[in-house]
Symmetry: C2
Subunit: 327 residues, 2 copies
Protein backbone atom coordinates (compact mmCIF):
# COMPACT_ATOMS: atom_id res chain seq x y z
CA UNK A 1 0.00 0.00 0.00
CA UNK A 2 1.30 3.43 -0.88
CA UNK A 3 2.40 5.27 2.23
CA UNK A 4 2.92 8.95 2.95
CA UNK A 5 4.69 10.43 5.97
CA UNK A 6 3.89 14.11 6.59
CA UNK A 7 6.27 16.05 8.81
CA UNK A 8 4.51 19.20 10.00
CA UNK A 9 0.74 19.19 10.58
CA UNK A 10 -0.20 22.84 10.18
CA UNK A 11 -2.68 24.12 7.60
CA UNK A 12 -0.87 22.69 4.56
CA UNK A 13 0.68 19.56 6.07
CA UNK A 14 -2.54 18.76 7.88
CA UNK A 15 -4.50 19.15 4.67
CA UNK A 16 -2.07 16.87 2.79
CA UNK A 17 -2.46 14.21 5.51
CA UNK A 18 -6.27 14.39 5.25
CA UNK A 19 -6.38 14.55 1.44
CA UNK A 20 -3.91 11.67 1.00
CA UNK A 21 -5.88 9.55 3.45
CA UNK A 22 -9.09 10.32 1.58
CA UNK A 23 -7.35 9.27 -1.66
CA UNK A 24 -6.49 5.87 -0.16
CA UNK A 25 -2.90 6.36 0.97
CA UNK A 26 -1.71 4.92 4.25
CA UNK A 27 -0.75 8.11 6.10
CA UNK A 28 0.99 9.10 9.29
CA UNK A 29 2.78 12.16 10.53
CA UNK A 30 4.27 14.27 13.24
CA UNK A 31 4.40 17.91 14.24
CA UNK A 32 6.49 20.11 16.49
CA UNK A 33 3.30 21.43 18.08
CA UNK A 34 1.92 19.08 20.75
CA UNK A 35 -1.49 20.67 20.24
CA UNK A 36 -1.46 19.90 16.50
CA UNK A 37 -0.31 16.33 17.22
CA UNK A 38 -3.07 15.80 19.76
CA UNK A 39 -5.71 17.31 17.47
CA UNK A 40 -4.65 15.14 14.53
CA UNK A 41 -4.68 12.06 16.73
CA UNK A 42 -8.11 12.97 18.10
CA UNK A 43 -9.29 13.15 14.48
CA UNK A 44 -8.25 9.51 14.05
CA UNK A 45 -4.87 9.86 12.35
CA UNK A 46 -1.67 8.00 13.22
CA UNK A 47 0.68 10.50 14.80
CA UNK A 48 4.11 9.91 16.28
CA UNK A 49 5.78 12.18 18.78
CA UNK A 50 9.12 13.00 17.17
CA UNK A 51 10.68 13.52 13.79
CA UNK A 52 13.07 10.65 14.59
CA UNK A 53 10.18 8.24 15.05
CA UNK A 54 8.41 9.49 11.94
CA UNK A 55 11.47 9.06 9.73
CA UNK A 56 12.25 5.60 11.15
CA UNK A 57 8.66 4.52 10.43
CA UNK A 58 8.90 6.01 6.96
CA UNK A 59 12.08 4.04 6.24
CA UNK A 60 10.42 0.83 7.43
CA UNK A 61 7.36 1.39 5.24
CA UNK A 62 9.14 2.85 2.20
CA UNK A 63 6.97 5.96 2.58
CA UNK A 64 7.16 9.12 0.54
CA UNK A 65 8.20 11.77 3.08
CA UNK A 66 6.45 15.14 2.75
CA UNK A 67 8.16 18.07 4.46
CA UNK A 68 5.60 20.63 5.66
CA UNK A 69 7.59 22.64 8.16
CA UNK A 70 8.75 26.28 8.08
CA UNK A 71 11.90 26.79 6.03
CA UNK A 72 13.85 27.65 9.18
CA UNK A 73 13.05 24.21 10.64
CA UNK A 74 14.16 22.34 7.50
CA UNK A 75 17.86 21.81 8.36
CA UNK A 76 17.07 19.99 11.62
CA UNK A 77 14.42 17.81 10.01
CA UNK A 78 16.61 17.01 7.01
CA UNK A 79 19.48 16.03 9.29
CA UNK A 80 17.19 13.44 10.87
CA UNK A 81 16.02 12.27 7.45
CA UNK A 82 19.64 11.78 6.43
CA UNK A 83 20.38 9.80 9.59
CA UNK A 84 17.51 7.30 9.34
CA UNK A 85 16.31 7.35 5.71
CA UNK A 86 19.14 8.77 3.64
CA UNK A 87 17.88 7.49 0.28
CA UNK A 88 14.20 8.19 0.90
CA UNK A 89 11.84 9.55 -1.70
CA UNK A 90 11.23 13.09 -0.47
CA UNK A 91 9.07 16.07 -1.39
CA UNK A 92 7.93 19.23 0.35
CA UNK A 93 4.98 21.60 0.27
CA UNK A 94 6.82 24.80 1.13
CA UNK A 95 6.41 28.11 -0.61
CA UNK A 96 9.94 28.54 -1.99
CA UNK A 97 11.87 25.97 -3.95
CA UNK A 98 15.45 27.24 -4.35
CA UNK A 99 16.33 27.53 -0.64
CA UNK A 100 14.75 24.21 0.32
CA UNK A 101 16.44 22.40 -2.58
CA UNK A 102 19.72 23.91 -1.39
CA UNK A 103 19.03 22.65 2.15
CA UNK A 104 18.26 19.16 0.82
CA UNK A 105 21.52 19.10 -1.17
CA UNK A 106 23.38 20.12 1.96
CA UNK A 107 21.74 18.08 4.70
CA UNK A 108 20.45 14.96 2.96
CA UNK A 109 22.32 14.76 -0.33
CA UNK A 110 21.36 11.17 -1.17
CA UNK A 111 17.60 11.68 -0.85
CA UNK A 112 15.56 11.30 -4.04
CA UNK A 113 14.02 14.73 -3.70
CA UNK A 114 11.43 16.42 -5.92
CA UNK A 115 10.14 19.74 -4.58
CA UNK A 116 6.47 20.66 -4.53
CA UNK A 117 4.27 23.64 -3.73
CA UNK A 118 0.49 23.52 -3.61
CA UNK A 119 -0.88 27.01 -4.35
CA UNK A 120 -3.64 26.91 -1.76
CA UNK A 121 -4.10 28.51 1.59
CA UNK A 122 -6.27 30.57 3.83
CA UNK A 123 -5.83 33.10 6.59
CA UNK A 124 -6.10 30.57 9.45
CA UNK A 125 -3.28 28.24 10.41
CA UNK A 126 -2.67 25.05 12.41
CA UNK A 127 -4.13 21.55 12.17
CA UNK A 128 -7.67 22.74 12.89
CA UNK A 129 -7.64 24.95 9.77
CA UNK A 130 -6.75 22.03 7.49
CA UNK A 131 -9.17 20.55 5.00
CA UNK A 132 -9.03 17.42 2.83
CA UNK A 133 -10.50 19.50 0.00
CA UNK A 134 -8.08 22.42 0.29
CA UNK A 135 -6.25 21.48 -2.92
CA UNK A 136 -9.25 20.76 -5.13
CA UNK A 137 -8.87 22.68 -8.38
CA UNK A 138 -5.64 24.33 -7.17
CA UNK A 139 -2.27 24.46 -8.87
CA UNK A 140 0.42 22.26 -7.27
CA UNK A 141 3.89 23.02 -8.54
CA UNK A 142 6.16 19.99 -8.93
CA UNK A 143 9.79 20.92 -9.56
CA UNK A 144 11.22 19.68 -12.85
CA UNK A 145 14.87 20.70 -12.80
CA UNK A 146 17.55 18.84 -14.74
CA UNK A 147 18.56 15.62 -13.04
CA UNK A 148 15.17 15.03 -11.43
CA UNK A 149 14.35 11.34 -10.94
CA UNK A 150 11.31 10.75 -13.18
CA UNK A 151 10.03 7.93 -10.96
CA UNK A 152 9.87 10.24 -7.95
CA UNK A 153 8.50 13.06 -10.10
CA UNK A 154 5.64 10.81 -11.16
CA UNK A 155 4.99 9.75 -7.57
CA UNK A 156 4.87 13.35 -6.30
CA UNK A 157 2.70 14.44 -9.24
CA UNK A 158 0.35 11.54 -8.53
CA UNK A 159 0.01 12.60 -4.90
CA UNK A 160 -0.84 16.14 -6.04
CA UNK A 161 -3.38 14.91 -8.59
CA UNK A 162 -4.99 12.54 -6.09
CA UNK A 163 -5.29 15.41 -3.61
CA UNK A 164 -7.47 17.12 -6.25
CA UNK A 165 -4.91 19.57 -7.64
CA UNK A 166 -3.49 19.92 -11.13
CA UNK A 167 0.28 19.92 -11.58
CA UNK A 168 2.34 22.86 -12.83
CA UNK A 169 5.90 21.73 -13.64
CA UNK A 170 8.53 24.38 -12.97
CA UNK A 171 12.21 24.94 -12.49
CA UNK A 172 13.17 26.14 -9.00
CA UNK A 173 14.15 29.61 -10.12
CA UNK A 174 11.13 30.10 -12.36
CA UNK A 175 8.86 29.03 -9.52
CA UNK A 176 10.45 31.35 -7.00
CA UNK A 177 10.34 34.33 -9.38
CA UNK A 178 6.67 33.70 -10.18
CA UNK A 179 5.47 33.28 -6.59
CA UNK A 180 7.39 36.39 -5.52
CA UNK A 181 5.12 38.36 -7.85
CA UNK A 182 1.79 36.67 -7.31
CA UNK A 183 1.98 35.40 -3.74
CA UNK A 184 4.66 37.20 -1.72
CA UNK A 185 4.36 40.73 -3.14
CA UNK A 186 0.57 40.69 -2.51
CA UNK A 187 1.29 40.15 1.18
CA UNK A 188 3.76 43.04 1.30
CA UNK A 189 1.38 45.41 -0.52
CA UNK A 190 -1.54 44.35 1.68
CA UNK A 191 0.52 45.17 4.77
CA UNK A 192 1.52 48.56 3.34
CA UNK A 193 -2.07 49.39 2.42
CA UNK A 194 -3.41 48.38 5.84
CA UNK A 195 -0.84 50.55 7.62
CA UNK A 196 -1.36 53.58 5.37
CA UNK A 197 -5.11 53.23 5.92
CA UNK A 198 -4.77 53.05 9.70
CA UNK A 199 -2.50 56.11 9.59
CA UNK A 200 -5.62 57.96 8.40
CA UNK A 201 -7.16 57.46 11.84
CA UNK A 202 -10.64 56.37 12.95
CA UNK A 203 -12.52 58.19 10.17
CA UNK A 204 -10.53 56.39 7.50
CA UNK A 205 -11.12 53.09 9.28
CA UNK A 206 -14.84 53.80 9.60
CA UNK A 207 -15.15 54.60 5.89
CA UNK A 208 -13.05 51.68 4.67
CA UNK A 209 -15.07 49.13 2.72
CA UNK A 210 -14.81 47.00 -0.42
CA UNK A 211 -11.53 48.02 -2.02
CA UNK A 212 -9.72 48.33 1.33
CA UNK A 213 -11.26 45.09 2.61
CA UNK A 214 -10.08 43.14 -0.43
CA UNK A 215 -6.71 44.84 -0.72
CA UNK A 216 -5.79 44.14 2.92
CA UNK A 217 -7.37 40.70 3.44
CA UNK A 218 -4.11 38.75 3.54
CA UNK A 219 -2.59 41.29 5.94
CA UNK A 220 -4.71 39.48 8.55
CA UNK A 221 -2.72 36.25 8.11
CA UNK A 222 -0.35 35.15 10.89
CA UNK A 223 2.58 37.55 10.38
CA UNK A 224 5.16 35.00 11.59
CA UNK A 225 4.18 32.55 8.83
CA UNK A 226 4.05 35.28 6.17
CA UNK A 227 7.40 36.61 7.33
CA UNK A 228 9.03 33.17 7.03
CA UNK A 229 7.48 32.67 3.60
CA UNK A 230 8.51 36.07 2.19
CA UNK A 231 11.96 36.24 3.78
CA UNK A 232 12.72 32.74 2.47
CA UNK A 233 12.35 34.09 -1.06
CA UNK A 234 14.35 37.25 -0.52
CA UNK A 235 16.15 37.65 -3.84
CA UNK A 236 13.13 37.07 -6.04
CA UNK A 237 10.93 39.18 -3.76
CA UNK A 238 13.40 42.08 -3.93
CA UNK A 239 13.03 42.04 -7.72
CA UNK A 240 9.24 42.06 -7.43
CA UNK A 241 9.25 44.85 -4.83
CA UNK A 242 11.57 46.88 -7.05
CA UNK A 243 9.15 46.47 -9.95
CA UNK A 244 6.28 47.58 -7.72
CA UNK A 245 8.28 50.57 -6.46
CA UNK A 246 9.07 51.48 -10.06
CA UNK A 247 5.45 51.31 -11.16
CA UNK A 248 4.15 53.11 -8.06
CA UNK A 249 6.80 55.79 -8.43
CA UNK A 250 5.86 56.25 -12.08
CA UNK A 251 2.20 56.60 -11.07
CA UNK A 252 3.18 59.20 -8.48
CA UNK A 253 5.25 61.14 -10.98
CA UNK A 254 2.53 61.14 -13.59
CA UNK A 255 -0.17 62.15 -11.12
CA UNK A 256 1.97 64.98 -9.78
CA UNK A 257 3.15 66.30 -13.13
CA UNK A 258 0.26 65.79 -15.54
CA UNK A 259 -2.54 64.82 -13.16
CA UNK A 260 -2.99 61.52 -14.98
CA UNK A 261 -3.14 57.97 -13.65
CA UNK A 262 -4.27 56.63 -17.02
CA UNK A 263 -1.21 54.53 -17.87
CA UNK A 264 -1.13 52.92 -14.41
CA UNK A 265 -4.81 52.11 -14.28
CA UNK A 266 -5.05 50.89 -17.86
CA UNK A 267 -2.09 48.53 -17.53
CA UNK A 268 -3.55 47.18 -14.29
CA UNK A 269 -6.95 46.74 -15.91
CA UNK A 270 -5.48 44.88 -18.90
CA UNK A 271 -3.48 42.60 -16.61
CA UNK A 272 -6.41 41.76 -14.33
CA UNK A 273 -8.78 41.14 -17.24
CA UNK A 274 -6.17 38.95 -18.98
CA UNK A 275 -5.78 36.91 -15.81
CA UNK A 276 -9.55 36.50 -15.47
CA UNK A 277 -9.84 35.49 -19.13
CA UNK A 278 -6.97 33.02 -18.78
CA UNK A 279 -8.58 31.33 -15.79
CA UNK A 280 -11.85 30.91 -17.62
CA UNK A 281 -10.43 29.65 -20.90
CA UNK A 282 -11.43 26.33 -22.34
CA UNK A 283 -8.64 23.75 -22.07
CA UNK A 284 -6.42 23.59 -25.10
CA UNK A 285 -5.80 20.33 -26.95
CA UNK A 286 -4.06 17.78 -24.80
CA UNK A 287 -0.35 17.28 -24.83
CA UNK A 288 1.64 14.45 -23.32
CA UNK A 289 5.18 14.01 -22.05
CA UNK A 290 7.00 10.67 -21.86
CA UNK A 291 8.65 10.92 -18.44
CA UNK A 292 11.26 8.30 -19.37
CA UNK A 293 12.62 10.37 -22.27
CA UNK A 294 15.90 12.26 -21.77
CA UNK A 295 14.25 15.59 -22.55
CA UNK A 296 11.24 14.99 -20.24
CA UNK A 297 12.15 17.58 -17.61
CA UNK A 298 12.89 20.20 -20.24
CA UNK A 299 9.52 19.56 -21.89
CA UNK A 300 7.76 19.77 -18.55
CA UNK A 301 9.46 23.08 -17.73
CA UNK A 302 8.46 24.48 -21.13
CA UNK A 303 4.87 23.50 -20.47
CA UNK A 304 4.96 25.30 -17.12
CA UNK A 305 6.62 28.43 -18.52
CA UNK A 306 3.80 28.71 -21.04
CA UNK A 307 1.18 28.51 -18.30
CA UNK A 308 0.26 24.89 -19.00
CA UNK A 309 -0.47 22.05 -16.62
CA UNK A 310 -0.46 18.28 -16.15
CA UNK A 311 -3.91 16.90 -15.42
CA UNK A 312 -3.32 13.15 -15.30
CA UNK A 313 -0.66 10.47 -15.37
CA UNK A 314 -0.91 7.28 -17.36
CA UNK A 315 1.97 5.12 -16.19
CA UNK A 316 5.04 7.19 -17.06
CA UNK A 317 3.16 9.40 -19.51
CA UNK A 318 2.11 12.78 -18.17
CA UNK A 319 -0.99 14.16 -19.89
CA UNK A 320 -1.73 17.84 -19.81
CA UNK A 321 -2.90 20.93 -21.56
CA UNK A 322 -1.35 24.11 -22.78
CA UNK A 323 -2.98 27.37 -21.87
CA UNK A 324 -3.31 30.61 -23.79
CA UNK A 325 -2.73 33.42 -21.34
CA UNK A 326 -3.65 36.60 -23.20
CA UNK A 327 -0.89 38.76 -21.76
CA UNK B 1 -44.64 64.55 -1.14
CA UNK B 2 -40.87 64.59 -0.83
CA UNK B 3 -39.25 64.62 -4.23
CA UNK B 4 -35.77 63.68 -5.42
CA UNK B 5 -34.26 64.48 -8.82
CA UNK B 6 -31.22 62.34 -9.69
CA UNK B 7 -28.93 63.61 -12.45
CA UNK B 8 -26.81 60.73 -13.68
CA UNK B 9 -28.20 57.17 -13.68
CA UNK B 10 -25.09 55.00 -13.54
CA UNK B 11 -24.36 52.52 -10.76
CA UNK B 12 -24.60 55.03 -7.90
CA UNK B 13 -27.20 57.44 -9.28
CA UNK B 14 -29.32 54.56 -10.50
CA UNK B 15 -29.13 52.93 -7.08
CA UNK B 16 -30.14 56.20 -5.37
CA UNK B 17 -33.14 56.52 -7.69
CA UNK B 18 -34.26 52.98 -6.89
CA UNK B 19 -33.56 53.18 -3.14
CA UNK B 20 -35.31 56.56 -2.76
CA UNK B 21 -38.33 55.27 -4.67
CA UNK B 22 -38.43 52.20 -2.43
CA UNK B 23 -38.33 54.52 0.60
CA UNK B 24 -41.40 56.39 -0.62
CA UNK B 25 -39.88 59.42 -2.33
CA UNK B 26 -41.30 60.73 -5.58
CA UNK B 27 -38.30 60.26 -7.89
CA UNK B 28 -37.28 61.20 -11.40
CA UNK B 29 -34.03 61.60 -13.21
CA UNK B 30 -31.96 61.95 -16.32
CA UNK B 31 -28.67 60.64 -17.69
CA UNK B 32 -26.27 61.57 -20.47
CA UNK B 33 -26.39 57.96 -21.68
CA UNK B 34 -29.44 57.25 -23.86
CA UNK B 35 -29.06 53.57 -23.00
CA UNK B 36 -29.21 54.26 -19.25
CA UNK B 37 -32.24 56.55 -19.75
CA UNK B 38 -34.06 53.91 -21.78
CA UNK B 39 -33.22 51.15 -19.30
CA UNK B 40 -34.43 53.23 -16.33
CA UNK B 41 -37.63 54.09 -18.15
CA UNK B 42 -38.15 50.45 -19.09
CA UNK B 43 -37.86 49.66 -15.37
CA UNK B 44 -40.80 51.98 -14.72
CA UNK B 45 -39.05 55.16 -13.59
CA UNK B 46 -39.80 58.71 -14.72
CA UNK B 47 -36.92 59.82 -16.91
CA UNK B 48 -36.51 63.07 -18.83
CA UNK B 49 -34.20 63.54 -21.77
CA UNK B 50 -32.06 66.50 -20.77
CA UNK B 51 -30.52 68.11 -17.71
CA UNK B 52 -32.48 71.28 -18.56
CA UNK B 53 -35.77 69.43 -18.33
CA UNK B 54 -34.75 67.66 -15.14
CA UNK B 55 -33.74 70.86 -13.39
CA UNK B 56 -36.91 72.69 -14.54
CA UNK B 57 -39.04 69.83 -13.18
CA UNK B 58 -37.04 69.89 -9.94
CA UNK B 59 -37.66 73.61 -9.51
CA UNK B 60 -41.39 73.13 -10.08
CA UNK B 61 -41.60 70.30 -7.54
CA UNK B 62 -39.16 71.73 -4.97
CA UNK B 63 -37.08 68.56 -5.35
CA UNK B 64 -33.79 67.80 -3.70
CA UNK B 65 -31.36 67.55 -6.63
CA UNK B 66 -28.80 64.72 -6.42
CA UNK B 67 -25.75 65.08 -8.67
CA UNK B 68 -24.45 61.66 -9.72
CA UNK B 69 -22.27 62.53 -12.71
CA UNK B 70 -18.49 62.29 -13.17
CA UNK B 71 -16.61 65.23 -11.69
CA UNK B 72 -15.62 66.38 -15.16
CA UNK B 73 -19.31 66.75 -16.11
CA UNK B 74 -20.18 68.77 -13.00
CA UNK B 75 -19.52 72.31 -14.34
CA UNK B 76 -21.98 71.91 -17.23
CA UNK B 77 -24.68 70.41 -15.03
CA UNK B 78 -24.20 73.03 -12.31
CA UNK B 79 -24.47 75.81 -14.88
CA UNK B 80 -27.90 74.47 -15.83
CA UNK B 81 -28.88 74.17 -12.16
CA UNK B 82 -27.91 77.81 -11.65
CA UNK B 83 -29.96 78.86 -14.66
CA UNK B 84 -33.24 77.14 -13.72
CA UNK B 85 -33.05 76.39 -9.98
CA UNK B 86 -30.45 78.71 -8.52
CA UNK B 87 -31.56 78.36 -4.88
CA UNK B 88 -32.28 74.62 -5.00
CA UNK B 89 -31.43 72.20 -2.27
CA UNK B 90 -28.54 70.24 -3.76
CA UNK B 91 -26.39 67.26 -2.84
CA UNK B 92 -24.11 64.88 -4.70
CA UNK B 93 -22.93 61.28 -4.45
CA UNK B 94 -19.47 61.75 -5.90
CA UNK B 95 -16.29 60.35 -4.49
CA UNK B 96 -14.44 63.60 -3.69
CA UNK B 97 -15.85 66.52 -1.78
CA UNK B 98 -13.41 69.42 -2.06
CA UNK B 99 -13.38 69.74 -5.86
CA UNK B 100 -17.15 69.38 -6.22
CA UNK B 101 -17.80 71.91 -3.43
CA UNK B 102 -15.45 74.28 -5.25
CA UNK B 103 -17.38 73.74 -8.49
CA UNK B 104 -20.69 74.42 -6.71
CA UNK B 105 -19.33 77.66 -5.24
CA UNK B 106 -18.21 78.71 -8.69
CA UNK B 107 -21.09 77.64 -10.94
CA UNK B 108 -24.16 77.76 -8.69
CA UNK B 109 -23.19 79.89 -5.71
CA UNK B 110 -26.71 80.39 -4.37
CA UNK B 111 -27.58 76.68 -4.17
CA UNK B 112 -28.19 75.27 -0.69
CA UNK B 113 -25.57 72.57 -1.15
CA UNK B 114 -24.56 69.77 1.23
CA UNK B 115 -22.14 67.23 -0.23
CA UNK B 116 -22.57 63.51 0.16
CA UNK B 117 -20.68 60.31 -0.61
CA UNK B 118 -22.11 56.83 -0.15
CA UNK B 119 -19.23 54.37 0.41
CA UNK B 120 -20.67 51.58 -1.71
CA UNK B 121 -19.85 50.25 -5.10
CA UNK B 122 -19.03 47.27 -7.19
CA UNK B 123 -16.95 46.48 -10.24
CA UNK B 124 -19.82 46.85 -12.75
CA UNK B 125 -21.18 50.19 -13.87
CA UNK B 126 -24.22 51.69 -15.58
CA UNK B 127 -27.95 51.63 -14.77
CA UNK B 128 -28.15 47.85 -15.07
CA UNK B 129 -25.62 47.41 -12.24
CA UNK B 130 -27.70 49.53 -9.83
CA UNK B 131 -29.52 48.06 -6.85
CA UNK B 132 -32.05 49.55 -4.40
CA UNK B 133 -30.18 47.73 -1.61
CA UNK B 134 -26.68 48.89 -2.59
CA UNK B 135 -26.44 51.25 0.40
CA UNK B 136 -27.79 48.95 3.11
CA UNK B 137 -25.40 48.96 6.03
CA UNK B 138 -22.94 51.22 4.19
CA UNK B 139 -21.39 54.49 5.35
CA UNK B 140 -22.75 57.60 3.59
CA UNK B 141 -20.66 60.66 4.25
CA UNK B 142 -22.62 63.90 4.60
CA UNK B 143 -20.41 66.99 4.58
CA UNK B 144 -20.58 69.11 7.73
CA UNK B 145 -18.39 72.11 7.02
CA UNK B 146 -18.88 75.48 8.72
CA UNK B 147 -21.79 77.40 7.23
CA UNK B 148 -23.73 74.30 6.23
CA UNK B 149 -27.52 74.85 6.27
CA UNK B 150 -28.77 72.47 8.98
CA UNK B 151 -32.17 72.07 7.29
CA UNK B 152 -30.54 70.78 4.12
CA UNK B 153 -28.06 68.70 6.14
CA UNK B 154 -30.98 66.98 7.85
CA UNK B 155 -32.72 66.39 4.52
CA UNK B 156 -29.62 64.84 2.92
CA UNK B 157 -28.91 62.74 6.02
CA UNK B 158 -32.52 61.54 5.98
CA UNK B 159 -32.20 60.46 2.34
CA UNK B 160 -29.04 58.52 3.22
CA UNK B 161 -30.67 56.86 6.24
CA UNK B 162 -33.79 55.97 4.28
CA UNK B 163 -31.62 54.40 1.58
CA UNK B 164 -30.39 52.03 4.31
CA UNK B 165 -27.01 53.65 5.05
CA UNK B 166 -25.67 55.22 8.22
CA UNK B 167 -24.29 58.76 8.10
CA UNK B 168 -20.68 59.73 8.72
CA UNK B 169 -20.38 63.52 9.10
CA UNK B 170 -17.11 64.93 7.77
CA UNK B 171 -15.40 68.09 6.69
CA UNK B 172 -14.49 68.19 2.98
CA UNK B 173 -10.77 67.97 3.57
CA UNK B 174 -11.01 65.22 6.17
CA UNK B 175 -13.22 63.20 3.84
CA UNK B 176 -10.90 63.58 0.88
CA UNK B 177 -7.81 62.65 2.93
CA UNK B 178 -9.55 59.56 4.33
CA UNK B 179 -10.89 58.24 1.02
CA UNK B 180 -7.51 58.78 -0.64
CA UNK B 181 -6.12 56.20 1.78
CA UNK B 182 -8.91 53.66 1.93
CA UNK B 183 -10.56 53.94 -1.48
CA UNK B 184 -8.27 55.57 -4.05
CA UNK B 185 -4.88 54.17 -2.97
CA UNK B 186 -6.32 50.61 -3.01
CA UNK B 187 -7.13 51.08 -6.71
CA UNK B 188 -3.62 52.31 -7.49
CA UNK B 189 -1.97 49.45 -5.59
CA UNK B 190 -4.28 46.89 -7.20
CA UNK B 191 -3.27 48.18 -10.64
CA UNK B 192 0.42 48.05 -9.74
CA UNK B 193 0.10 44.50 -8.37
CA UNK B 194 -1.81 43.28 -11.42
CA UNK B 195 0.81 44.69 -13.80
CA UNK B 196 3.79 43.35 -11.82
CA UNK B 197 2.10 39.94 -11.76
CA UNK B 198 1.48 39.94 -15.50
CA UNK B 199 5.11 40.94 -16.06
CA UNK B 200 5.93 37.51 -14.61
CA UNK B 201 4.43 35.88 -17.70
CA UNK B 202 2.07 32.94 -18.16
CA UNK B 203 3.50 30.82 -15.34
CA UNK B 204 2.93 33.62 -12.81
CA UNK B 205 -0.61 34.07 -14.15
CA UNK B 206 -1.27 30.33 -13.99
CA UNK B 207 -0.09 30.14 -10.36
CA UNK B 208 -1.89 33.28 -9.16
CA UNK B 209 -4.65 32.52 -6.70
CA UNK B 210 -6.09 33.87 -3.42
CA UNK B 211 -3.76 36.70 -2.45
CA UNK B 212 -3.36 37.92 -6.05
CA UNK B 213 -7.07 37.53 -6.74
CA UNK B 214 -8.03 39.64 -3.72
CA UNK B 215 -5.26 42.18 -4.13
CA UNK B 216 -6.12 42.91 -7.76
CA UNK B 217 -9.93 42.62 -7.68
CA UNK B 218 -10.63 46.35 -8.07
CA UNK B 219 -8.12 46.57 -10.93
CA UNK B 220 -10.93 45.01 -12.98
CA UNK B 221 -13.15 48.06 -12.51
CA UNK B 222 -13.79 50.36 -15.49
CA UNK B 223 -10.48 52.26 -15.67
CA UNK B 224 -12.14 55.44 -16.98
CA UNK B 225 -14.33 55.70 -13.87
CA UNK B 226 -11.45 54.87 -11.52
CA UNK B 227 -9.24 57.39 -13.30
CA UNK B 228 -11.82 60.16 -12.89
CA UNK B 229 -12.29 59.27 -9.22
CA UNK B 230 -8.59 59.13 -8.36
CA UNK B 231 -7.48 62.10 -10.45
CA UNK B 232 -10.26 64.20 -8.92
CA UNK B 233 -8.60 63.75 -5.53
CA UNK B 234 -5.08 64.41 -6.70
CA UNK B 235 -3.58 66.27 -3.75
CA UNK B 236 -4.84 63.92 -1.06
CA UNK B 237 -3.97 60.89 -3.19
CA UNK B 238 -0.41 62.14 -3.70
CA UNK B 239 -0.01 62.20 0.09
CA UNK B 240 -1.34 58.66 0.37
CA UNK B 241 0.87 57.39 -2.48
CA UNK B 242 3.88 59.03 -0.85
CA UNK B 243 3.11 57.24 2.40
CA UNK B 244 2.81 53.96 0.52
CA UNK B 245 6.08 54.58 -1.32
CA UNK B 246 7.74 55.37 2.00
CA UNK B 247 6.50 52.19 3.65
CA UNK B 248 7.26 50.01 0.61
CA UNK B 249 10.71 51.55 0.29
CA UNK B 250 11.36 50.87 3.99
CA UNK B 251 10.26 47.25 3.50
CA UNK B 252 12.62 46.95 0.54
CA UNK B 253 15.51 48.43 2.50
CA UNK B 254 14.96 46.19 5.47
CA UNK B 255 14.60 43.05 3.33
CA UNK B 256 17.76 43.88 1.40
CA UNK B 257 19.91 44.85 4.38
CA UNK B 258 18.77 42.61 7.25
CA UNK B 259 16.57 40.12 5.43
CA UNK B 260 13.62 41.07 7.62
CA UNK B 261 10.08 42.08 6.70
CA UNK B 262 8.96 41.87 10.33
CA UNK B 263 8.19 45.54 10.91
CA UNK B 264 6.21 45.86 7.68
CA UNK B 265 4.17 42.70 8.17
CA UNK B 266 3.49 43.31 11.86
CA UNK B 267 2.27 46.86 11.34
CA UNK B 268 0.02 45.66 8.52
CA UNK B 269 -1.30 42.84 10.66
CA UNK B 270 -2.09 45.17 13.56
CA UNK B 271 -3.85 47.61 11.24
CA UNK B 272 -5.96 44.97 9.54
CA UNK B 273 -6.93 43.28 12.80
CA UNK B 274 -7.80 46.67 14.35
CA UNK B 275 -10.04 47.44 11.40
CA UNK B 276 -11.76 44.06 11.67
CA UNK B 277 -12.24 44.54 15.42
CA UNK B 278 -13.61 48.03 14.90
CA UNK B 279 -16.16 46.85 12.35
CA UNK B 280 -17.41 44.16 14.69
CA UNK B 281 -17.58 46.27 17.85
CA UNK B 282 -20.82 46.68 19.75
CA UNK B 283 -22.28 50.18 19.37
CA UNK B 284 -21.20 52.59 22.04
CA UNK B 285 -23.71 54.55 24.12
CA UNK B 286 -25.80 56.86 21.99
CA UNK B 287 -24.98 60.47 21.50
CA UNK B 288 -27.14 63.21 20.03
CA UNK B 289 -26.51 66.50 18.28
CA UNK B 290 -29.01 69.37 18.17
CA UNK B 291 -28.75 70.46 14.54
CA UNK B 292 -30.13 73.93 15.33
CA UNK B 293 -27.31 74.73 17.77
CA UNK B 294 -24.49 77.03 16.57
CA UNK B 295 -21.85 74.38 17.24
CA UNK B 296 -23.80 71.58 15.49
CA UNK B 297 -21.48 71.21 12.49
CA UNK B 298 -18.39 71.23 14.70
CA UNK B 299 -19.89 68.49 16.90
CA UNK B 300 -20.81 66.45 13.84
CA UNK B 301 -17.29 66.74 12.44
CA UNK B 302 -15.82 65.65 15.78
CA UNK B 303 -18.08 62.61 15.78
CA UNK B 304 -16.86 61.71 12.28
CA UNK B 305 -13.19 62.25 13.09
CA UNK B 306 -13.53 59.80 15.97
CA UNK B 307 -15.02 57.17 13.68
CA UNK B 308 -18.60 57.70 14.90
CA UNK B 309 -21.83 57.81 12.94
CA UNK B 310 -25.39 59.12 12.88
CA UNK B 311 -27.96 56.34 12.83
CA UNK B 312 -31.26 58.23 13.00
CA UNK B 313 -32.82 61.68 12.97
CA UNK B 314 -35.57 62.80 15.31
CA UNK B 315 -36.75 66.13 13.93
CA UNK B 316 -33.65 68.33 14.12
CA UNK B 317 -31.88 66.04 16.57
CA UNK B 318 -29.30 63.71 15.05
CA UNK B 319 -28.83 60.52 17.07
CA UNK B 320 -25.69 58.48 16.71
CA UNK B 321 -22.96 56.47 18.30
CA UNK B 322 -19.28 56.88 18.93
CA UNK B 323 -16.99 54.09 17.93
CA UNK B 324 -13.82 52.81 19.52
CA UNK B 325 -11.37 52.09 16.73
CA UNK B 326 -8.46 50.28 18.35
CA UNK B 327 -5.72 51.91 16.30
Amino acid sequence: MRSVCVIGLGLIGGSVLRAAAAAGYQVFGTAASAADRAAAEADGFTVVSTVDEAVIHAAERDSLIVLAVPLTAAPDVLTVVNRFAAKTRLTDVMSVKGPIAEAVRRYTPEARYVGGHPMAGKADSGWAAGDAKLFEGAAWVVAADEGTDPIVWAEVATLALECGAYVVPAGEGDHDAAVARISHLPHVLAAVLAAVGADGGPMAMALAAGSFADGTRVAGSDPALVKAMCEGNRDALLDAVDDALGRLGAARGSLASTGSLGATLESGYRARRAWEAGREQAPEPLTSVDLTAPEAMELLRSLGILGGRITSLDGMTAVGEYADWPI
